[in-house]
């Protein structure tokens, strides 16, 4: 039955997340200014604050369901995080595509996923990094440059997507687990970014990096992409949340300056600033419902089934777009003082912009939706 109410458990998880965000806000500027430092696995405050993921599992039956509950917490995302997330995208792939032997051997590792190259971002088919099988040693020889790899600094390694040797003019996607410390893996350190500087992002190079055959994961391009059906709405929620944090800040500061949003009046009785705040809030709510709808479907139909591919693309396209518009307009409404590093507003403005790019740019997600909506293949619409 159509219902938009939050359960007691939902509300409790949101409350716990907000408390955590409040406590952590004091660390935000430090990690913005110290981008080479990776955040601790947990901050000292963790001794006083509950583990929200643990709490979520404990009170599952009081929530709208685990997938929705987690999304509600993502919609309260702030940085830095009190506790590091346990999993990387790479170990999620090993989790569903790995053999029992691989799970035994690699299951305990935290693995990033390495896809992007300097010449291949939105179009992963343009990847040039290569994998060659050496029959003499039974090893794979890996070469390539991988950039913008989230979580690589703190991870034990990565699932790296490369291309195999030509089979009838076609080079297949191949995936390998590459652990840190493997000879030939050269870490290049944290990427210097405009925003989300606390977000662990590294580049690395593979130079004749040799891995044994068991490191090859049976995850082709399609199987790798399935993981995005869950993470796209998640990342969209985080980006939207940063935008909402700036929107709340803007509303509070403008309120102090005498600007109040009234929901009862029509548009002729609103000031320009009131009207814009209202429109941005409406956009925020529309986007939030699109994300929650996707997560609701995922909860019903399974995370890695591929059933929510289009919904995930919609959530991400909406989230990325809303993050851009909301933060840009809020900064304009705040005026010159909003530029000051005395406040976090300028940081949130920088942070939010990436959310329409990583985890699938707005255009890539629109292509996914368009092909479904118009019944076109990727050849017919690209």
């Amino acid at each position: 039955m159509i219902d938009f109410s939050l359960t007691a458990g939902d509300r409790r998880l949101i409350e716990v997340t907000r408390l955590e965000n409040e406590a952590m806000r004091k660390h935000a500027r430090y990690y913005d200014q110290h981008e080479d430092e990776i955040e601790p696995a947990s901050f000292p405050e963790s001794s006083e604050l509950p583990d929200k993921m643990e709490l979520m599992r404990e009170i599952e039956d009081q929530t709208s369901g685990l997938v929705i509950a987690e999304s509600l917490m993502d919609l309260e995302y702030a940085d830095p995080r009190l506790r590091r997330t346990e999993h990387g995208l790479g170990d999620m792939i090993v989790g569903y595509a790995g053999t029992p032997e691989q799970l035994e051997r690699f299951g305990h590792l935290v693995l990033a996923i390495a896809l992007t190259e300097p010449g291949a971002g939105s179009d992963p088919r343009a990847i040039t990094g290569s994998a060659r099988y050496d029959e003499a040693t039974g090893e794979w020889v890996l070469n390539g440059e991988k950039i913008y790899c989230s979580k690589f600094g703190q991870a034990d390694g990565a699932v790296v997507l490369l291309k195999g040797e030509s089979e009838g003019g076609h080079r297949p996607f191949l995936a390998f687990i590459v652990e840190k410390g493997t000879p030939g893996l050269v870490q290049l350190g944290q990427v210097k970014k405009m925003g989300i500087r606390n977000w662990d992002t590294e580049d690395f190079v593979l130079q004749d990096c040799r891995v044994p055959a068991i490191n090859k994961v049976d995850a082709d391009f399609g199987k790798t992409m399935v993981v995005f059906n869950g993470t796209r709405p998640k990342v969209a929620a985080m980006g939207l949340s940063i935008a909402r944090t700036l929107m709340d800040f803007t509303r509070d500061k403008l309120k102090e300056a005498g600007v109040n949003v009234h929901y009862a009046a029509g548009r002729a009785k609103r000031s320009q600033l009131e009207d814009r705040l209202l429109r941005l809030e409406a956009l925020h709510e529309a986007t939030k419902l699109s994300i929650l709808n996707c997560k609701w479907r995922e909860q019903n139909e399974g995370t890695n089934t591929g059933a929510t591919k289009v919904d995930a693309a919609i959530a991400k396209a909406m989230g990325g777009g809303a993050a851009r518009r909301i933060t840009q307009e809020c900064m304009e409404m705040l005026g010159p003082l909003g530029l000051s590093e005395e406040f976090l507003a300028e940081k949130w403005y920088r942070d939010a912009r990436i959310f329409d790019i990583f985890e699938g740019a707005g255009e890539v997600n629109r292509l996914i939706v368009a092909r479904w909506l118009l019944d076109y293949s990727s050849k017919e619409l690209n």
Binding site: I2, Y263, A264, E281
Partner: protein, 362 residues
């Protein structure tokens, strides 16, 4: 608990209204707009959906009609034609207002007339003929005169005003807004002939003049205590959000086959990203509009910040509907501008829907 799933009853109502609207309303839409009227048999067809009558049947049962169901069916009707959807939405909003806010005697005297087989017009009269009108600055005045009220003012854009037996008129009493049930044939009430409108032409929206209309105390909606007029406004905004969702969906569903078919510079228009992405944006916005409308309806039912949710749904839908109709017209080019296609009608309707207050209700 967050859930987007319709009940079986809601899904059945949606399917039934979708089929009805496609078969009966869409084919009649253009002629109704051109003629600026709705033929009596078409009005009766609208009435034959039973949407108004069943509101009354269900009102006193253990399960009164869900507001979300109202939003669902309004979307379906409007997907075929917004004017015809509103022709039924207007009496629905009148009946809903009496059900929600009327006292026992108002319910007993006013509602039975809506149980019949023939279309029965009644409407809320909220908007006023001043440029920049805002619902929070109503200038129609209700003044107490002993046991009675005296009503003075002008209302405009009242749907099917000439056919209405009753209006619910909003008026200011000092700082407070009140609502009154006014019979069309009361002394001092004058319904002006329609002057024609840009859009939603079939609705024959016109002005209602209230010239020192004397009302009994029992004509105030809710009786002596009155009612919270904001509830009527909230309900109207939620309903219009649903209507705009439907109209936008109609635009998108009409545009897709055409744009896949129409070739320019060697390939179908829909295969060009600039067009395909606009269609995607429309699809995404329509879904979000729908959920916003449902949530507004839910918030009215559960009294969870209804004024806020209704305003947000209305604001978002107004903005998006205008964009969707505008981009569709642009994609059709000259075909969008000529009356051989319905796009130009929807472009006019899109501008109107986001401006109206009180013409519908959930």
């Amino acid at each position: 608990m967050i859930d987007f799933e319709m009940t079986e009853e809601q899904a059945m109502a949606r399917d039934a209204m979708r089929d009805f609207a496609a078969a009966e309303l869409r084919p009649a839409a253009r002629a109704s707009d051109d003629g600026a009227t709705i033929a009596p048999e078409l009005r009766n067809k609208l009435w034959s959906t039973g949407l108004v009558q069943s509101m009354l049947d269900e009102a006193d049962s253990d399960q009164p009609r869900s507001r979300i169901l109202n939003a669902i069916v309004l979307e379906e009707l409007a997907a075929a034609d917004a004017s015809l959807a509103l022709a039924l939405a207007a009496p629905m909003s009148f009946v809903q207002a009496i059900l929600d806010h009327g006292n026992a005697s108002q319910r007993a005297t006013l509602l039975p007339a809506f149980q019949g087989l023939d279309f029965k017009a009644a409407a809320l009269a909220v908007m006023e003929p001043t440029f920049g009108f805002d619902v929070s600055a109503t200038s129609t005045v209700a003044a107490r005169a002993g046991d009675t009220w005296k009503l003075d003012g002008r209302k405009c854009m009242v749907p099917l005003a000439g056919a209405c037996s009753h209006f619910i008129v909003t008026a200011r009493d000092g700082e407070r807004l009140r609502a009154f049930v006014v019979a069309a044939n009361q002394p001092g009430v004058k319904v002006l002939p329609p002057k024609g409108t840009l859009a939603l032409r079939a609705l024959e929206m016109s002005e209602v003049v209230l010239d020192a209309v004397t009302l009994g105390a029992d004509q105030q909606l809710g009786g002596e205590e009155g009612c919270d007029v904001q509830c009527l406004v909230d309900s109207g905004r939620a309903a219009l959000a649903a209507v705009m969702t439907g109209m936008s969906r109609g635009v998108l569903e009409y545009a897709i086959p055409y744009l896949k078919d129409r070739v320019a510079h060697g390939s179908p228009l829909a295969r060009k990203q600039v067009i395909a992405f606009r269609l995607v944006d429309a699809h995404m916005a329509i879904q979000a509009m729908r959920w916003m409308a449902w949530r507004a309806a839910w918030s009215i039912e559960s009294n969870e910040e209804p004024t806020r949710h209704a305003q947000l749904a209305f604001t978002y839908a107004s903005e998006q509907t205008m964009t969707i109709a505008d981009e569709a017209l642009q994609a059709f080019g000259g075909h969008g501008f000529v009356r051989a296609h319905p796009i130009e009608m929807w472009y006019r309707n899109a501008r109107a829907l986001g401006l109206l207050e009180g013409v519908a209700g959930v």
